[in-house]
């Protein structure tokens, strides 16, 4: 061997090393060097150098040059593929666990998805107007007792006053939905028909409001449709109902049989979006409208909701301040003075009550109108938060299941991890492996969850009284779902993967870890969390139902069972009394009363003011409703007269008599019977006091109310003797046909209508039940798998115990006690939480139940029983197994 070695030109060699494919580099360089040494000996250094250069240059060809994008596999597709394969195999190997893992997860995801759709729908209310951020609703705020009274109804000239007095106000428009003036529900027919139909959604509507809301006109002129007197605009669905397959513009409709005053159709608009807080169907133009003389310039009656569109960049808070001061001083105070108040008193009143005007952005109306009396049904931002919280909780429970099951199963994977480490796997790649697996699970669960949500959506719609559709067409759906499944997969996989990858190979392979899964404190904590949530939801459900029961069965001051109502009786006019007499001939009908008002929603309401006789200009008014009734009203509804007497037919003076309820008697004060009070026009003598009865939601206190005799047939109520309702309905319909051949009879049962007032509470209860069941099912799935696994782990122990003479009962106790302890711990945590939360909810009701300890006892018992039932299947099985089976392998 030569000590001293000549070397080829270094820069050529370096060049070769630079371009050559790294995999080929060493062997080719070896070849080159070998040749070089040989050639140098044979033909000298120069020739050898030249040949070396030539060889290197000839090696400079595509298959030898290193690829530009790098020679290594930059991604780990191969490894990922293997992870997926291993993941899939362990999934298939343990079918029950995988099913529970995926099923539980999918349930959670489905629930979350549904709630997300719901919340999204709530949040996009009134976001569709192009000028949306400049649109506001005007609120009148005044101190009322301890709270604030927020009102949206203003006098007719309000909108014009705002527009004229404040340059910031670009447009102002109103609607009037008061039933007193014929808005709301009416009998209606097209001008060339005779048959009436009963329909809803009548409203008086300004052209300018239509402009502001950009109502989409299908037929007719968007600018002029409401500009003529007695013009009406229909929505598409109503136009299709009354004028199928034609353009109804120019045709007429007749409302409430007023043939002398037909409405001409000025246009057809698309139906209001479901996400609009305004929902009407018959918009009657306000042009030339006056419900009484000079109504349109009268500041004394507030019937109009007012909306304004501000200039771009107007300062809202400034404007609110200016308006509050200006409008009150210019219009309201003079009116109060005219009504008999002194100037100082009027100012004092305004100051004391903190009267002011506010502007409510249109997109906040739906969710932020708690306490606003606007006669609309709207959502509540608190419920949105509550739902979001429930969705979050369900998802967390599902993730916890996943974590629990993954770590519990760790013993089975421990050997795999150990072996991987021995053959050189780094911890990071093991983490990666388990994360990949959990993403695999998550994606599968998402697929199942979406399918589940899709099929559950119709039921959820019924439950939530919405019309949600699955947003398949939304292009963001796929990326969001994919991103979410990836993220949740990673989230759920983080703990298990770090836990599993921390195993020491030596210990694992020696078999030390396999018992390490007995009781991890974290796992216990997670089980406790799951059951705490479940118990809270169970308590919530029970209390909502109790409150609901309470409302429906409380002594409400009148008898709502066995009462049949006939609505739309206004058609009968003067014939109402003969109709009544005709009905009374039927033996099944005990009594009949004709009235305008019933203690349920959807009948008419009014607001009047009363004073003690002769004190009109001195005292504060008592705000109360007057219901015009007949002599049979109180007996038919079985209300109780606590003092004085009912109206009597033979006393002519009763035409100016009045019966008040207890609240009103309290407001009047002193000895009430025989006292004289005066309203706007008439004076009355109080002849009786009727016991307070509930006529509005129990969320509010019972307000003053009084009855007078009057003939205003709108609803006829029948007290029925017989149990056979269908027979009664049949005979009543026959009588009705004689009197009103052109109008279908409309029935309702008083108790149903009463229950409808609390539809939202009922809905809330049902939704709560559903989610409570969801949460419990998911938690139980987890517990089931966990207990099965524990028992599997302790199979040998149980075998030995059985051999040594333990009974089934011993084994059962041994296995279930640990879990029951956890459930009991969760109950202890859940009770105060649930108590506090439900106390908050009950604050909404003026009349509410007290929360009793029994509720918690029941909820706790249910939780323990469910847990016990879940575990006992596995425990009993473990106790019955032949010990030979588990011990044989030794």
């Amino acid at each position: 061997m030569k000590k001293h070695k000549t070397i080829p030109p270094q820069f050529i060699l370096r060049f070769f090393r630079w371009f050559c494919h790294p995999k080929l580099k060493d062997s080719i360089e070896g070849d080159l060097m070998e040749l070089y040494q040989e050639r140098k000996v044979v033909s000298g250094k120069l020739k050898a150098d030249l040949k070396f250069v030539r060889d290197v240059l000839l090696l400079f060809r595509p298959s030898i040059i290193r690829p530009a994008e790098g020679y290594k596999n930059l991604n780990n597709y191969g490894m990922l593929k293997s992870y997926f394969k291993i993941g899939w195999r362990s999934l298939v190997k343990q079918k029950m666990y995988s099913a529970i893992k995926i099923g539980g997860f999918a349930l959670g995801i489905a629930a979350c998805l549904l709630i997300t759709l719901y919340i999204k729908d709530e949040l996009i209310y009134d976001k569709h107007y192009t000028k949306g951020k400049n649109l506001y609703r005007v609120l009148g705020v005044i101190k009322e007792g301890n709270g604030l009274d927020k009102n949206i109804f203003f006098p007719a000239p309000m909108s014009n006053a705002l527009k004229e007095d404040y340059p910031e106000v670009l447009k102002a428009g109103r609607y009037n939905a008061s039933e007193l003036f014929g808005a709301g529900n009416n009998e209606v027919r097209s001008g060339d028909q005779l048959e009436n139909a009963y329909d809803q959604g009548f409203v008086y509507f300004d052209q300018e409001l239509a402009d502001m809301l950009e109502l989409p006109f299908i037929h007719g002129s968007a600018k002029r449709a409401l500009e003529e007197p007695n013009f009406v605009v229909l929505t598409k669905r109503k136009a299709d109902k009354y004028f199928p397959n034609q353009n109804p513009v120019g045709k007429t409709i007749i409302v409430d049989n007023k043939t002398d005053k037909p409405y001409t159709i000025g246009g057809v608009i698309a139906d209001f979006k479901t996400t609009s807080h305004i929902q009407f169907d018959f918009l009657i133009g306000t042009k030339g409208l006056a419900f009484w003389k000079d109504e349109q310039s009268d500041w004394g009656a507030s019937n109009y909701a007012v909306y304004v569109q501000l200039n771009e960049g107007a300062n809202v808070t400034e404007l609110e301040k200016k308006m509050s001061k200006g409008i009150l001083e210019k219009y309201f105070i003079p009116m109060m003075i005219e009504g008999g108040m002194s100037v100082a008193d009027a100012h004092k009143f305004i100051d004391e009550r903190g009267a002011r005007l506010e502007l409510q952005p249109i997109d906040r109306i739906h969710l932020y109108s708690a306490g606003v009396h606007d006669g609309l049904t709207h959502g509540d931002i608190r419920f949105v938060w509550l739902f979001a919280a429930i969705a979050g909780l369900i998802l967390v429970i599902a993730i916890i299941n996943f974590i629990n099951l993954s770590t519990a199963k760790s013993a089975n994977r421990a050997k795999e991890v150990g072996l991987r480490k021995v053959v050189g796997s780094m911890r990071s790649s093991i983490v990666q492996q388990f994360l990949t697996e959990s993403v695999l699970f998550s994606v599968l669960s998402f697929v199942v969850g979406i399918v589940l949500a899709f099929f559950l959506l119709p039921y959820f719609n019924i439950l939530s009284a919405k019309s949600l559709v699955f947003p398949w067409s939304e292009w963001l759906l796929l990326p969001i779902i994919f991103g979410a499944s990836l993220m949740i997969g990673l989230l759920a996989g983080v703990y298990p993967s770090f836990y599993l990858s921390s195993f020491q190979p030596i210990q694992v392979l020696k078999g030390a870890i396999s018992k390490g899964s007995k009781g991890s404190p974290l796992r216990s904590a997670l089980v406790v969390f799951q059951f705490t949530t479940s118990v809270v939801l169970i308590v919530g459900t029970i209390i909502i139902y109790q409150q609901m029961e309470f409302i429906l069965n409380k002594k409400i001051g009148f008898e709502k069972d066995q009462v049949l109502m006939i609505q739309g009786a206004g058609t009968l006019g003067d014939q109402a009394t003969s109709f009544k007499n005709e009905l009374l001939k039927t033996s099944q009908i005990k009594s009949v009363t004709i009235s305008d008002y019933l203690p349920i929603r959807g009948t008419k309401r009014n607001q009047n003011e009363f004073w003690n006789d002769g004190k009109k200009s001195q005292d504060n008014a008592i705000a109360a409703q007057i219901w015009k009734v007949d002599h049979d009203y109180i007996p038919t509804l079985e209300m109780k007269v606590v003092d004085g007497r009912n109206f009597q037919r033979d006393l002519a003076t009763d035409s100016s008599a009045i019966i008040v309820n207890q609240s009103m008697a309290k407001e009047i004060g002193g000895e009430v019977i025989g006292k004289r009070i005066e309203g706007y026009q008439d004076k009355y003598t109080i002849i009786g006091i009727v016991e307070d009865f509930h006529y509005e939601s129990m969320k509010e206190n019972i307000q003053p109310l009084c009855f007078t005799l009057g003939n205003s047939p709108s609803i006829i109520s029948l007290k029925v003797n017989s149990q056979n309702m269908s027979e009664v309905i049949e005979s009543t319909t026959a009588v009705w046909k004689k009197f009103a051949p052109h109008q279908p009879i409309r029935f309702a049962f008083l108790d149903d209508s009463y229950a409808a007032i609390y539809a939202d509470v009922q809905r809330m209860g049902r939704i709560f039940t559903c989610f409570a069941v969801f949460a419990i099912v998911v938690a139980c799935l987890g517990l089931f798998a966990l207990s099965a696994f524990m028992i599997e782990q302790r199979a040998k122990e149980i075998g030995i115990r059985l051999v040594m003479g333990a009974s089934l009962k011993n084994i059962f106790n041994l296995l279930t006690l640990d879990f029951i302890k956890l459930v009991v711990a969760s109950i202890v945590i859940a009770v105060p939480l649930a108590w506090y939360a439900m106390q908050q909810w009950l604050q909404d009701f003026a009349y509410r139940i007290d929360i009793t300890w029994q509720v918690f006892a029941v909820a706790g018992l249910v939780a323990v029983l469910i847990a016990l039932f879940t575990i006992s299947y596995q425990s009993v099985r473990a106790g019955l197994v032949n010990p030979v089976k588990s011990l044989r392998s030794e």
């Binding site: 061997m1 070695k5 080929l24 060493d26 062997s27 080719i28 360089e29 070896g30 070849d31 080159l32 060097m33 070998e34 040749l35 040494q37 040989e38 030539r54 060889d55 240059l57 000839l58 090696l59 400079f60 060809r61 298959s63 030898i64």
Partner: protein
């Protein structure tokens, strides 16, 4: 048939690897071809062919010993795989078929 793709130079390389049997690495293959076929072979051409054959799985390689004249670089030995053998047999048999298909007359004409 695209089944066994084997170029002329590739076939020569394969045959040489076969001849050298246990001693087939870059330099020895090059020398063997040069001495038997009397034609120059550049390192580049040879390495390209070897790489292509390896990619086609006709050859397999393993690292051998490193000597001092190779500046400590390992030799890369090549061996014919079963697939490589099939390819070579296929190539030979197709040639043989073609040879045997030539009519005798053709040769006679050529001689004349």
């Amino acid at each position: 048939m695209k089944k066994y793709q084997l170029g002329e130079f590739e076939e020569v390389v394969m045959l040489t690897v076969g001849i050298l049997y246990k001693d087939a690495y870059g330099v020895s293959i090059k020398k063997e071809i040069e001495s038997r076929l009397k034609r120059g072979v550049s390192v580049g051409a040879l390495q390209t062919a070897l790489k292509r054959l390896e990619d086609k799985s006709y050859l397999k390689s393993f690292d051998g010993e490193a000597t001092e004249e190779r500046a400590g670089r390992p030799k890369k030995y090549f061996q014919i795989t079963a697939l490589g053998k099939k390819a070579m047999e296929y190539s030979k048999s197709t040639r043989d078929e073609l040879w045997s298909a030539i009519p005798k007359v053709a040769w006679e004409l050529k001689i004349v």
